[in-house]
Subunit: 351 residues, 2 copies
């Protein structure tokens, strides 16, 4: 017999991207930043009094709340710290969804949403993106979810919906559904929705320190929302969901905006370059607002190119899902990593 | 209107113990270890390459898994790392409980269990401890939970159930209920249940690095269970629930058993001393197997002593719940902190 609930027993867990332990490979498979975190992080670690770890951390991560609020022109009460963006996704599923309250999102998108819905045992309605990854607002409304998630920029497409359109969707959903905008990749985008949270009582923004701030290993994200929503989410989160060291590091990193902006610009420059080179190799590459591109191969199945890249120690991401089997998601690396990627692809395609 | 589910809207969240920011107060309210973490933790921080934070952490925290398995005479497959013990509690509630599958535990105990059950919207059956905090095995079985939790040593009583009795309960529950033994305080106890996980297919042990290892600020705990249960729980946990720095620190700390054992002995010596002194002041103090004692005052309401201690910058824990209103939970501090506690109590009682 199984002791687990049936939905858990039947679940295939989320499969994270492969994490090679070898440092010398070209790892462009999990959308990590190719540059190290702010030098202030190293300084902090060198001077951190470990005796502070003896005591419980600040339950709300106050120093980070203040810094993130300031950056976004909001109040600390509009911020909730989370153990990575995934922690926030788990918290919102538990807060708003159940057997009679569904999750709705445009697809294809981040595959974790569906896994979390299965764990929560709530219905899922996937609405296909309109041509060219446009927002299917009316269809999302008609689906009647208790929670609607829009990943923006979207993964794995890198496509971007203008905040004005997100605002229209939030208005349509008002009184009916919470709208979570997953802005894990917003650091690399033309805009974001932080300015909308005081306009929409049903809007939650997800942010991550993993991408733009090079802190995927730290697990730190945050929610931005009106105070009423934050207050409710705080009841559901674990009392001490972020640790004292992570709070201190994330606070240092988010305050070093000069370093952050320089790295983001470097990634965006290389995104333009990689896009062009992939196109010249025959790939179809959509415009990306993230730190990765989705490259459509000429064949109907990209797994062959994926495997051959792996043999050359170049790790990209392949999703064996509908609409994605002919594509590879490729994270933007350093110029030299991108050189190696393009070189490897040239060899594979000419052989 | 509220966007939250009704059970969340109606919830009073868990109230963590007060965290004074002043370092000079006597803080014996949240069962933190009075001694700093292993010196190896400081060494690790000083030499940690922050560039590692750029990449996602090992999803399973492999180095810690190996170290914890070795310590407990088990295999890495028997271990799951969690973001504090609370993360594991949340995961098991989500794995085993729902509207038709209840949570059962002997009470009074850690008040978070009830809060998590309310979030999960599952029924709760509280079974009173038998006289003198004995295990009500038959009553727990009859309650028919999908999940049964026994906190051992129990909080806030500090009482301890012999592992043989836990084993009998696990046998009774086999095929019916998972038994989680919350061993957050086992570092200070006469025994523990780790040796039982290969005997019972329905047994999960919770461990924490917060107490014996002085790492409450780090948020690190782990589950011990048979491989089948661990495999199921891994599907429910967040993909990267523990961060790279926390994995490295917790691994260093758990490997420094000499330092750990010395600190535990110091705390146990002071526990004996504090118990005696409290008794000589007229408190009734049960035998504790944890790093705190539960002291029953002469009056029916201990909140008065609690408040007066606070005025003297001595912070203990008071629970306004049935069976606990006449008691104070007092964490064992350093000898000098315990001096100040006893001194303050003498002044209060003689005034």
């Amino acid at each position: 017999m199984s002791y687990f609930k049936e939905n858990i027993e039947n679940l295939s867990g989320y499969t994270p991207g492969f994490q090679p332990t070898d440092e010398d490979v070209v790892k462009v498979n999990t959308n990590e930043n190719p540059y190290p975190p702010s030098p202030k992080v190293a300084q902090l670690l060198a001077s951190f009094d470990v005796n502070r770890l003896r005591r419980y951390p600040a339950p709300l991560g106050d120093s980070f709340r203040v810094a993130a609020a300031k950056l976004n022109g909001l109040l600390p009460e509009n911020i909730m710290c989370t153990n990575g963006g995934d922690d926030l996704l788990t918290i919102v599923l538990r807060s708003f969804c159940c057997g009679t309250r569904s999750l709705v999102y445009p697809a294809p998108t981040y595959s974790l949403y569906e896994v979390l819905a299965k764990i929560q045992n709530c219905p899922v309605v996937e609405i296909p993106w309109k041509d060219g990854y446009c927002l299917p607002k009316q269809e999302l409304l008609d689906a009647g979810g208790a929670l609607t998630i829009v990943c923006n920029p979207n993964a794995p497409s890198g496509s971007f919906i203008d905040p004005e359109e997100i605002s229209e969707l939030a208005s349509l959903l008002e009184g009916k559904s919470v709208l979570l905008v997953d802005e894990a990749y917003a650091d690399f985008a033309e805009g974001n929705c932080a300015g909308l949270v005081n306009k929409h009582e049903n809007l939650i923004i997800l942010r991550s320190m993993s991408k733009g701030y090079s802190l995927a290993g730290l697990r730190f994200g945050y929610a931005i929302a009106c105070r009423e929503l934050i207050d409710g989410l705080l009841k559901v989160k674990d009392s001490y969901n972020v640790d004292a060291l992570a709070i201190a590091i994330a606070t240092e990193a988010i305050q070093d905006q000069a370093y952050f902006k320089r790295n983001v610009e470097l990634v965006k420059e290389q995104r333009t370059r990689v896009t062009k080179e992939l196109e010249s190799l025959g790939f179809r590459v959509g415009t990306s607002n993230a730190n990765f591109v989705l490259a459509q191969t000429l064949s109907s199945d990209a797994s062959d190119v994926f495997e051959k890249l792996k043999e050359k120690q170049v790790f990209v991401r392949y999703f064996p899902y509908d609409g994605l089997r002919d594509k590879l998601r490729i994270t933007i690396g350093t110029p030299s990593e991108n050189d190696k990627l393009i070189e490897a692809l040239k060899e594979i395609l000419s052989s």
